[in-house]
């Protein structure tokens, strides 16, 4: 792997680390499997790209992207909480609707940002080579956001959100308005994912209507890799674990695609991802079964 592609891998790894943190918030903290992210990642990219092209300051555009994602998350929460639509289905509905909305936002299926100013522009004059600059910038932003999320989950509000997912009845008995926490959690999660989309569009120079496909699986893969590496109850370690998980996942994929003797091409990516996530989910289950069988054998001897 060349240095250039290694840096590119790190950059994408950090960006999807943000997605992983968002996915962790819904899947693990709130116990709300949310597929909206496939749409909100693209929404973030589309909003940022469209706004930047129309002359808006990249930082304001990025912030708008974050807000747009938050709104998308709240729509999913609303469908689920107000109308009792199953969470998975509610999120699929929002995701499907977002596909059209994203096309409308961009006005065409693909927007190029190569010649436009981005959040990186103010730092271009520092003299750091572009490929390093991107990684450093994205890495700093993502780690800072990760630290903020970890801190948030340890605040009174964040802890109430965790209780909402872990034991809603207990949460309610302690005066926590669970619906409000679910709205807030989905908004935060999809806001982060949209932010990741906005960063992706600006560092890679384009937004595309299909770029969000599979975001959820990649995010989930990173969460699972992080969880299996760091077995901890500390929010800080778990959240940073999501980011590290994303980096490792990206590196593993890059290595697999670079190993010529295996013969993978980039179009095999989704299959590889699905197999990896599948394995990560299957192995702990098999290990439990083996252990149980071993224990049972030990008893009868």
């Amino acid at each position: 792997m060349s240095l250039f592609s290694f840096m590119g891998t790190l950059e994408i790894g950090f960006i999807f680390g943000l997605v992983a943190v968002g996915v962790y918030l819904t899947f693990r903290v709130l116990d709300f499997p949310d597929l909206t992210v496939d749409g909100s990642f693209t929404l973030g990219a589309a909003l940022a790209a469209a706004l930047i092209i129309s002359g808006v300051n990249p930082y304001i555009a990025t912030f708008c992207a974050l807000l747009g994602g938050a709104v998308a998350g709240m729509v999913t929460a609303w469908l689920n909480l107000r109308f009792n639509i199953l969470h998975l289905l509610a999120s699929i509905l929002t995701m499907t609707a977002l596909y059209t909305i994203n096309l409308r936002v961009m006005g065409k299926p693909n927007l190029a940002l190569i010649t436009e100013p981005t959040v990186l522009s103010p730092f271009m004059s520092l003299g750091i080579p572009n490929m390093y600059l991107k990684v450093i910038f994205v890495g700093l932003v993502v780690v800072a956001v990760g630290l903020l999320v970890a801190w948030f989950l340890n605040t009174q509000y964040g802890m109430a959100m965790r209780a909402t997912g872990a034991n809603p009845r207990m949460a309610q008995a302690n005066g926590i308005v669970v619906n409000q926490k679910i709205y807030a959690g989905l908004a935060l999660s999809n806001g982060l994912v949209a932010l990741a989309g906005a960063l992706f569009a600006q560092t890679n120079g384009f937004a595309d209507s299909t770029m969000g496909i599979g975001t959820i699986v990649v995010g989930l893969a990173a969460v699972i890799v992080g969880e299996s590496l760091f077995n901890s109850r500390s929010m800080l370690i778990i959240v940073l674990g999501c980011i590290v998980g994303s980096l490792l996942y990206r590196l593993a994929i890059a290595v697999a695609l670079n190993a010529d003797f295996i013969g993978f091409t980039t179009s095999d990516l989704n299959l590889i991802t699905a197999v990896l996530v599948g394995l990560a989910l299957i192995l702990p289950q098999l290990r439990r079964e083996w252990k149980a069988r071993k224990a049972a054998k030990g008893d009868t001897v």
Binding site: T155, M159, R162, N167, M170, N174, G175, R233
Partner: protein, 267 residues
């Protein structure tokens, strides 16, 4: 003080599965009274507790705490006044969170939850002091995951959690039913301590006739969604488990009295 005026609760109204769980409960419980609630399965004991807590809304009637009408308030909005401990030890705590995190959650009951850290050293000190009362050694295990504790330990911590914030009303829904006799006795002991200390108004549902008479200052029996009898003071102190069973037989004259094994075994 709790006041129920003609409180009625009907589940699935208008459907074939319609169930009139409470059929006009009139009950006034003065501040500081400890009421034990007995009755057979389906008599409406738990429904009464859940209605007071706000988990179940009154279909009609009025519910007041002191002189404040709370009929329309949500469960969460009532938690400033009401603390509760569930029958299932798993229900009252978050298994995935640590002891100190669970206690911090309970510490926030009835307060605004903002963006300040939920735990700090003075709070941990308070939690340690409270846990030390249990004599279970939990004061040194603040960072232990709740899910690793036994049912009895979890229930004991739930009880402490219910008393971390001042409240007026404590609702106990068979909170010792799932515990072994020794742990149950310990939990009842702490219950008594906390109630006396905080001068709480208590409603305790129990299946044990013995417990119903031994604890508290007043005993009511629910039957078919209504208060069938109400014992307190001198009269109550003369009652034994047998008298209670006789009384119970009297209000169920259709011959199927005392078919409730749990009720008998509990006696």
């Amino acid at each position: 003080m709790i006041r129920c005026k003609q409180v009625k609760v009907t589940f699935n109204p208008g459907l074939a599965t319609e169930k009139k769980a409470l059929q006009g409960v009139d009950l006034t419980i003065p501040q500081g009274e400890f009421v034990t609630v007995i009755g057979s399965n389906g008599a409406g004991k738990s429904t009464l507790l859940n209605t007071i807590a706000g988990d179940i809304r009154c279909s009609s009637g009025q519910l007041c705490f002191d002189d404040r009408d709370v009929t329309a308030l949500s469960a969460a909005a009532r938690t400033g006044d009401v603390a509760r401990v569930f029958q299932d030890p798993l229900a009252g705590t978050c298994g995935e969170m640590t002891i100190e995190e669970n206690m911090a959650l309970a510490y926030g009951r009835g307060k605004r939850r903002g963006l300040t850290l939920a735990l700090n050293e003075p709070l941990r000190q308070l939690f340690r002091e409270q846990l030390a009362r249990l004599n279970l050694g939990l004061e040194n295990r603040l960072n232990t995951q709740m899910g690793l504790l036994s049912g009895g330990q979890r229930q004991s911590v739930s009880l402490l959690m219910s008393a971390l914030q001042p409240s007026k009303i404590l609702l106990l829904d068979e909170h010792t039913a799932a515990l072994d006799p020794k742990t149950a006795a310990l939990v009842m002991d702490i219950t008594d301590q906390i109630v006396a200390e905080k001068q709480l108004t208590v409603l305790m549902v129990t299946h044990s006739m013995r417990q119903a008479l031994d604890y508290g200052t007043r005993t009511i029996m629910m039957h078919e969604g209504q208060v069938a009898f109400d014992l307190s003071g001198e009269e109550r102190s003369q009652y034994g488990v047998k008298d209670l069973l006789n009384l119970f037989a009297k209000i169920r004259p259709d011959g199927d009295e005392l078919d409730d094994d749990k009720l008998l075994l509990g006696a």
